[in-house]
């Protein structure tokens, strides 16, 4: 069965299915119950599954994640939410020092099976700490897995997949894409491991994730007007990175532009660039290009458009690579 859903509704549907099919699953966080979440992603879940399984927690992110750790130790499969990316920072002690390490500490006896939902990245003109791109911070922590869907179909299936995985998964939802609709094929998830070629092309590969996938697809369409054929790869899994998949595309096109919203220095673009250099040394037609946010705090208001890679900035990156 295929249905047209927004990303927000696709995630809502996945959560509903998980809660229905897995009695050990719980959804909790600030305002996720009665209100249905600030983005309405958890709308209706509390009415349906009860306030004991869909819990409005006190305003305390460390508490939310610490509670998740305790629940996981007891064999439950929690799906906590931090309301905004920037609110993951107060929970970092629990995420890094506890959740990421408890499996290791207990030599595998108490796995931390959980999915932390993080509405992520910018694009909605929100105030400070409501538009952060923290994927590299999280991917740097041993013991965590990181995934970021780019459309409703991916959001639905990757969330269900993440819930089945026995390790803690950081699920980064592109909040600027919550309202965009797309087909969700419930029966046919497609391959959920690794990266995904979102558009095939010959001349150059753009690697992106989250909200930057849709923008990169727009760029590829515009590039076609200039007779430049761009392949867009949706990285999806940021930890572990799909090394073979990313390398395969760039091996074909010979050129790569990596696009992310996060600041440039020590961002995942550097990691992927290093990977491509290591694996494709001598076969690249041009140095790997990066089009990223700047090394500044995510700015407020209209400056957001200056910070987040725009169509033009990505096109500039593509042109730099083409004319090298």
């Amino acid at each position: 069965m295929t249905e047209q859903l927004s990303t927000q509704k696709a995630i809502n549907t996945a959560l509903r299915e998980i809660l229905a099919d897995d009695a050990k699953s719980l959804v909790f966080g600030e305002d996720v119950g009665k209100l249905g979440g600030v983005f309405r992603v958890t709308d209706g879940l509390q009415t349906e599954f009860g306030a004991h399984r869909v819990i409005d927690t006190p305003l305390a992110e460390s508490g939310i994640l610490g509670m998740a750790a305790g629940l996981a130790m007891a064999g439950h499969r929690p799906i906590p939410e931090v309301q905004f990316d920037g609110f993951a920072y107060p929970a970092m002690n629990q995420i890094i020092s506890q959740i990421a390490r408890t499996n290791y500490r207990s030599r595998g006896a108490t796995p931390m099976q959980m999915v932390l939902r993080i509405p992520s990245y910018g694009g909605i003109r929100a105030p400070e700490l409501h538009g952060e791109s923290i994927e590299a911070t999280l991917a740097h922590v041993p013991g965590l897995k990181v995934v970021s869907p780019s459309n409703p179909h991916q959001a639905y299936h990757l969330l269900r997949r993440a819930h089945e995985m026995p390790d803690p998964v950081m699920f980064m939802e592109p909040k600027s894409r919550y309202w965009n609709r797309g087909d969700v094929d419930f029966e046919n998830p497609g391959d959920l491991e690794g990266s995904l070629v979102a558009r095939e092309g010959e001349d150059l590969t753009i690697i992106a994730w989250g909200a930057m996938v849709a923008r990169s697809l727009e760029v590829a369409e515009l590039a076609a007007e200039d007779d430049v054929s761009i392949e867009v790869v949706d990285a999806r899994w940021l930890k572990p990175l799909d090394e073979d998949g990313l390398v395969a595309s760039v091996a074909k096109t010979g050129r790569a532009v990596i696009v992310h919203e996060a600041p440039r220095t020590a961002g995942l673009g550097a990691e992927i660039g290093q990977l491509l250099t290591e694996r494709l040394w001598g076969k690249l037609e041009a140095p790997v290009e990066r089009v990223t946010g700047y090394d500044v705090p995510t700015p407020a208001g209209d400056l957001e458009d200056e910070y987040i890679p725009s169509i033009d900035r990505i096109l500039f990156g593509v042109q730099r690579s083409l004319e090298y």
Partner: protein, 255 residues
């Protein structure tokens, strides 16, 4: 919502409706309906919440969020009773706990049959829109299938079944036909094992599908009938009189 597995593996959906604490009531909806449509959309959640009753609404197999197996065999009356078994196993009543049951139309018939053979499971039975006879009489599967394909104009009992099966656009009419024909293999006879639990019958006074509910009252030891004024089989479910009658009855027997 949670899904439990019935004896044959079919997943049966259970929805919490009403208060999160208080006496528990198993709720069984009618044919071609669902817990959502029969109870939630009709406002029973709020009514139960205010009354301090804790409803557990079961989607009958072939309906709502429950699995929809194919073939008439999957819809024998026995299968439905096993579904109620599975729901009761989930409810896992503590000794001495009084559980109620509220059914509408086909759900009421299922409750009637279940309690008839399992006396004592429910402390009180509220049955809405229940006709005294077998509703699916004189039905012909071949004619029904042909009618679904638009090849013939169905007649008699078959016309009624086909009309119901096609009524909900979101439901699969073939599944509902399997269900109607499967259930009809065991015709309903209210004089066989009538319930011994206190029973309240309520039916709309304009309900032409169940205009004989009251004739069942003498078959039971402890039963009474109350009409739902101004309502028919379809629109009785939202009636405040219906809700008030059921709630007062359940409270008095479960408290």
């Amino acid at each position: 919502m949670l899904r439990v597995r019935s004896a044959d593996g079919t997943r049966i959906a259970l929805h919490e409706v009403g208060a999160s604490d208080g006496p528990r009531v198993l709720m069984l909806h009618g044919f071609a309906s669902s817990s959502q449509s029969n109870w939630v959309d009709a406002g029973w959640g709020r009514a139960f919440e205010e009354a301090g009753l804790r409803g557990i609404a079961m989607d009958l197999r072939g309906h709502g969020d429950s699995d929809k197996p194919r073939g008439e065999n999957a819809y024998e009356v026995e299968r439905f009773k096993e579904d109620v078994d599975a729901a009761l196993e989930f409810i896992d009543a503590v000794p001495g706990e009084k559980i109620g049951c509220l059914g509408y139309s086909m759900g009421a018939r299922l409750a009637y049959r279940y309690v008839g053979e399992e006396p004592g499971v429910f402390a009180a039975l509220a049955l809405g829109g229940l006709p005294a006879g077998e509703p699916f009489e004189d039905i012909d599967r071949q004619m029904a299938d042909a009618a679904l394909r638009g090849e013939v104009e169905p007649t008699g009992g078959t016309e009624f079944v086909v009309q119901l099966a096609k009524m909900l656009p979101e439901a699969d009419p073939t599944t509902l036909l399997d269900l109607a024909f499967g259930v009809a293999r065991t015709p309903f006879d209210p004089s066989v094992h009538p319930p011994v639990s206190p029973t309240l019958f309520m039916t709309g006074d304009k309900d032409d599908r169940a205009d004989d509910t009251e004739t069942m009252v003498p078959l039971l030891d402890d039963a009474r009938f109350e009409p739902i004024p101004g309502r028919n089989h379809i629109n009785a479910i939202t009636s405040r009189k219906f809700k008030a009658g059921v709630i007062e009855f359940l409270q008095s027997h479960l408290g």
